[in-house]
């Protein structure tokens, strides 16, 4: 069995995997809808939401290599803008999402440009600073009702299709509806991120990441591209925030600015592999179900209230970090697959 695998076969493997992934993604909630176990659809929703946010974060963190620890402000801006547009102006959810994205990008550009003077960890603290400034604004600004939150009203009635058009699922269609809404946004964002990665923009981002001074030397305005990267992230987070707002039907400042929205997308990207397109997706698929599973088993029953599930969760994270510091996608998958099939790894075409 010394013959090398022809390139066409490798392509076939890839499209089978792709088709399988797409089928799973599309059909995932159906069996749960049948059995009435809606919760698992919501887990799917959370996975996709985190993956989406992770892809967004990957643009500024993975591609452009900047430390952004305060992306949740754009999640919050998105959620609040969409909520306000929906409540006060009666806008449709999708229009509100567009509005949220525009506002978020505009604010991001205005806020980020000045601080691009700072580099590395200094920049990181500047992003944290923005987050810390956002918190009392969220808690005390009466226009957004401060810490008492905004509530999005849901009109009664309306079927599934109506729900997809307005993000309102008054009845039991919530689980299914939001899963597919999130899947749609996720696919759009994934394709967009892939396009960015392969475009000139992607090259500029990576240049800034790998050697900022070198990039400047050949005429790349690092400050501009840092801002662009962050604004792309802000747009995605705003979309996520809008989706969250309509899912939770309530926007509270301490919840949309919660520290988890800062670190979870980043964690997903790191676990999967920083800078890789599918990294955050792998990361989200691993992290969310693990934490949900542990909450349901170790955090319940007689051990409840002791935080045992979080202890184990923390230990698992440390194990992954120590074992694969470059992310799980850095594992030599192709080699392993080849060894499993007892064939040498595919040699490049033409050899």
């Amino acid at each position: 069995m010394a013959a090398s695998r022809p390139p066409a076969r490798a392509g076939l493997v890839r499209s089978v995997v792709a088709a399988a992934a797409i089928t799973v993604a599309l059909l995932y909630p159906i069996p749960f809808e049948w059995g009435g176990y809606i919760y698992y659809e919501t887990v799917g929703f959370l996975v996709l939401l985190t993956a989406m946010l992770g892809i967004g974060w990957n643009i500024i963190g993975g591609l452009a290599g900047q430390f952004d620890f305060g992306p949740s402000i754009f999640f919050a801006i998105g959620a609040y803008t969409a909520a306000l547009l929906s409540i006060h102006l009666g806008w449709n959810a999708w229009l509100a999402l567009l509005g949220a994205v525009v506002v978020s990008m505009a604010l991001c550009a205005a806020l980020t440009y000045p601080v691009t003077r700072l580099r590395g960890h200094y920049f990181a603290i500047a992003t944290v600073a923005m987050w810390m400034i956002a918190q009392p604004i969220g808690a005390t600004w009466s226009f957004i009702n401060g810490s008492q939150g905004l509530f999005i009203p849901v009109a009664a009635g309306g079927g599934f299709v109506h729900g997809l058009l307005t993000m309102e699922f008054p009845g039991r269609g919530k689980g299914l509806g939001f899963y597919y809404l999130c899947l749609l946004l996720f696919v759009v964002i994934l394709l967009g991120a892939r396009a960015i990665e392969r475009s000139k923009l992607g090259f500029y981002f990576r240049a800034v990441r790998d050697d900022q001074d070198g990039a400047e030397a050949i005429g790349i305005d690092s400050r501009l591209y840092k801002v662009i990267a962050r604004c792309l992230m802000a747009a995605i987070f705003a979309a996520g925030g809008t989706l969250y707002g309509f899912w939770a039907l309530a926007v509270f400042p301490d919840q949309v600015l919660e520290v988890n929205w800062n670190i979870l997308p980043m964690m997903a990207a790191v676990v999967g592999g920083l800078g890789r397109l599918w990294g955050p997706v792998i990361g989200a698929v691993i992290l969310i179900p693990i934490s949900q599973l542990m909450t349901a088993t170790l955090g319940a029953g007689p051990l409840a209230g002791r935080g045992i599930d979080l202890i184990i969760y923390g230990a698992v994270i440390m194990l992954i970090a120590g074992w694969r510091p470059n992310g799980l996608l850095s594992l030599p998958w192709a080699e392993w697959a080849a060894r499993f099939r007892r064939r040498p790894a595919a040699r490049p075409a033409g050899s």
């Binding site: 059909l27 049948w34 919760y39 959370l46 808690a139 008492q148 039991r172 909450t295 955090g299 029953g301």
Partner: protein
């Protein structure tokens, strides 16, 4: 591409099938009543969540075991007599004080664990997030100790609350202050300062207090909203000091209250009256810690029951004993008391309904008319208005005395029973130090 087209066809077919299929239904007699407990057991609100958990475990114990002399619903006898002795089982989930977790786990409890009643979340903010969800599934839900008035004002059909909300709680304090001059109290309390943290709980209280203060003819000389988790309040205390209020209305969590006390002590700041509602005043550990320094003597606030009188009630004592089994020896705090009362009401309702069908439960809940003698708490009873809020949930106003225990000072009939003369003015820091050293 052919694979994709095939997949799309399959999806559409399955989709259609889903819309036509009925949901799963459980059948057969009920042997276990599942009560979902969705609580913040870790994260920022963990110190509250754990008390709710212990309260739940206490009620589970009371219902499932035979306590023949215990005069509370389902005390004697094992299980639910109305359901043939079925037992009560808590299904506990920790949402880490996060809204998204609360939302997801509520759905888990309802659709996977198929709980019959959802108890939670314990904080008003996260409870608001799960209300629309529970309403869409149509099972009963309660958060007895959640205090935000909005929870029962948004028209949710499945949310029941036996405990009072902030409006009634803060109103009791102001009612006491209003009636005090006629009962031997000071007649010259004119100015008030509001001192609250910046989250939902504190701000709800602040708005109500500001409103009542104006109506009561007080002049608001300072209205400071502080950062939750503040590490120092020295400047804030300075501002309060220069405003020189007669009454300080303070709503803060235990950690910030401790910081306030230390800073106030250094500055020598002590208004004539310190009034509060919930927060630190409801926290057992903070109250216990005050014993060493008499730091809370003279503080007055709202309580659900006349604790000094209740602890003479046999049922209160017995329930406290059971509670201490789960709380590692901590006495029932007032939060736990509200929650236990509510959950015992829930058990009673399930028992009266003789069913776990949501519609039947709702009907039994609506028909509730529980009398005070069956409760460990001083509500006038349990009876719900159209918003499913218990209208007989009152409370008392208590004050902490030099013995570092709470004494009832309002309403006046109960105050007469407790025989405690309110402390006025609030003792200075030097006096506290001298007296606590004795």
């Amino acid at each position: 591409m052919r694979i994709l087209r095939l997949a799309a066809v399959v999806v559409v077919l399955l989709f259609v099938a889903v819309q036509l299929s009925p949901g799963a239904r459980a059948a057969g007699p009920v042997t276990e009543v599942l009560i979902g407990e969705l609580l913040p057991l870790t994260g920022n609100f963990a110190s509250l969540g754990q008390q709710y958990l212990w309260a739940g475990q206490t009620v589970e114990d009371i219902v499932n075991n035979d306590y023949p002399d215990l005069q509370v619903p389902l005390g004697p006898g094992k299980g639910f007599p109305g359901l043939g002795g079925a037992k009560m089982t808590l299904v506990v989930r920790d949402d880490q004080s996060r809204g998204d977790q609360a939302r997801a786990l509520a759905e888990q409890l309802i659709t996977v664990n198929k709980v019959h009643w959802l108890n939670g979340e314990g904080t008003s903010g996260n409870t608001s997030i799960i209300q629309p969800l529970v309403d869409s599934y149509g099972i009963p839900m309660s958060c007895h100790a959640c205090a935000s008035p909005t929870l029962t004002e948004k028209g949710f059909k499945w949310f029941w609350r036996t405990g009072p909300n902030d409006s009634t709680m803060v109103a009791s304090v102001f009612q006491f202050l209003k009636e005090w001059p006629a009962h031997g109290g000071p007649k010259d309390l004119k100015t008030i300062a509001l001192f609250t943290c910046d989250n939902l709980f504190c701000q709800d209280n602040r708005k109500i207090a500001a409103d009542l203060a104006e109506k009561g003819g007080y002049k608001i000389v300072a209205d400071l909203t502080t950062k939750t988790g503040a590490t120092t309040l020295a400047s804030e205390v300075q501002r309060l000091q220069s405003a020189n209020p007669d009454v300080l209305f303070l709503v803060q969590y235990p950690a910030e209250t401790t910081v306030f006390q230390a800073d106030a002590k250094r500055a020598g700041f002590m208004p004539k009256v310190i009034a509060t509602s919930n927060g630190a005043y409801s926290d057992q550990t903070w109250l216990t810690a005050q014993k060493a320094t008499s730091g809370a003597a003279g503080w007055l606030g709202r309580d659900p029951t006349a604790i000094d009188l209740a602890s003479k009630k046999a049922s209160w004592k017995k329930v406290n004993e059971i509670y201490k089994k789960y709380s590692r020896g901590q006495d029932m705090g007032e939060l736990a008391m509200r929650e236990i009362t509510g959950m015992l009401w829930m058990a009673d309702t399930i028992n009266r309904a003789k069913s776990v069908e949501p519609a039947v439960l709702a009907k039994a809940a609506a028909e509730t008319d529980m009398k005070p003698d069956q409760m460990i708490i001083d509500y006038k009873g349990i009876k719900f208005d159209a918003n499913r809020q218990n209208v007989l949930a009152t409370g008392v106003v208590t004050q902490i005395g030099w013995d570092d225990e709470k004494h009832t000072i309002w309403p006046w009939d109960l105050a007469a029973q407790s025989g405690f003369k309110p402390i006025f003015p609030s003792p200075s820091w030097q006096e506290r130090e001298t007296r606590s050293k004795k």
